[in-house]
Symmetry: C2
Subunit: 179 residues, 2 copies
DNA sequence: TAGCTATGTGTACGATTGTACTTATGATCG
DNA sequence: CGATCATAAGTACAATCGTACACATAGCTA
């Protein structure tokens, strides 16, 4: 038998590896074996730390949503005026999101799961609620919903479209919505 | 051997069955056998009519995108004024899209594939281009991009959120964006 | 320190899958 | 009307998967 390792953060590493494998292969192409290999862990560890594939996916996407929201709220809460907010949104759409295509894949994979399974919808629920309440420091709750939706749509369409969308266009659109 | 059937539209039926199975089980849970069963067709027919699982998915989502765009453009092109357009968009978000949760699942599954595979991105490309050019009957192309993105975001967030979003809010948001 | 428990490791197994392949048959057209 | 070929049907097979399980060992606690 190979050398046994003391590895206290193994569970954490498996979760991060799961996100990496999902980003590369999609949920459909994610297997215990691929995640185990990426985490440099024997197959047996998978069933020890996670009873289910679903449990692994659930924890992975929970971590992902928290991570993305943190970046989101950092940008948004750093603003001190509506003009700042418009710039922050443009940063989100044109800098953060586009720079890492991984995030597009992972977000869409999560939405796809959420559309069919209530457990995952709880993750997106919390995510959306958090995002909106960050925006509500600047606008009323109805407008926060609209703005969050616009950011979502711009993110997806800008990422999928691939043709460089001018940042000024995004700023103009956000400004209009906030009027 | 069972009775042989003359079945000229079998290929078509398989494609529609694929969409039904995807809506119910996701792309990840879609197998040749499930699609064959739904289409009431022997397993052998799958590899005869489609060389690949990918070919089947590609044809299925191509059909789906065309179908959705047709409904979309019917709504949009029936409008004769900006006010009409605002109502048409509200219809899209609050009537068409929410009424069939299937469409949410299928759209997200398609986006998910498009995020990782260029073949599927060609489908979403064409879809978005078509949608925008319908909108360009009423607004300039930059605004068409924004509006299409807003519709997308509202569709996803309204569907996933589940809390009844007032139609008036959507109309107000669209009106702001078109100012 | 003794022993117990949490953690790590290797492997086996039944189920399911995509796909290929053989054979059969009916529609079509010269 | 007969031959040909596109289509239909059934089955086989290797690969891969999730999961279970038996066994080993290190760290903690009493």
């Amino acid at each position: 038998m190979a050398e046994r390792r003391h590895d206290p953060q193994r569970r954490d590493r498996i979760i991060d590896s799961a996100l990496a494998v999902i980003a590369g292969n999609g949920v459909a192409g994610t297997t215990h074996r691929k995640v185990a290999q990426h985490a440099d862990v024997p197959l047996g560890s998978m069933t020890y730390h996670f009873t289910d594939m679903d449990e692994l996916l659930l924890e992975a996407f929970t971590r992902y949503a928290d991570r993305i929201f943190q970046r989101y709220s950092e940008r948004v809460l750093a603003a001190h005026s509506i003009d700042d907010l418009i710039g922050a949104v443009a940063d989100l759409v044109h800098r953060d999101l586009v720079q890492s295509p991984e995030d597009l894949v992972l977000s869409l994979e999560l939405y796809t799961l959420a559309a069919r399974q209530p457990e995952f919808r709880r993750i997106t629920h919390r995510w959306m609620r958090n995002s909106r309440s960050a925006l509500e420091r600047f606008v009323d709750s109805e407008t926060a919903f609209d703005l969050d939706a616009l950011i979502e749509g711009l993110f997806i369409h800008t990422s999928l479209d691939q043709t460089a969308r001018p940042r000024a266009d995004t700023e103009r659109a956000v400004r209009r919505l906030l009027t």
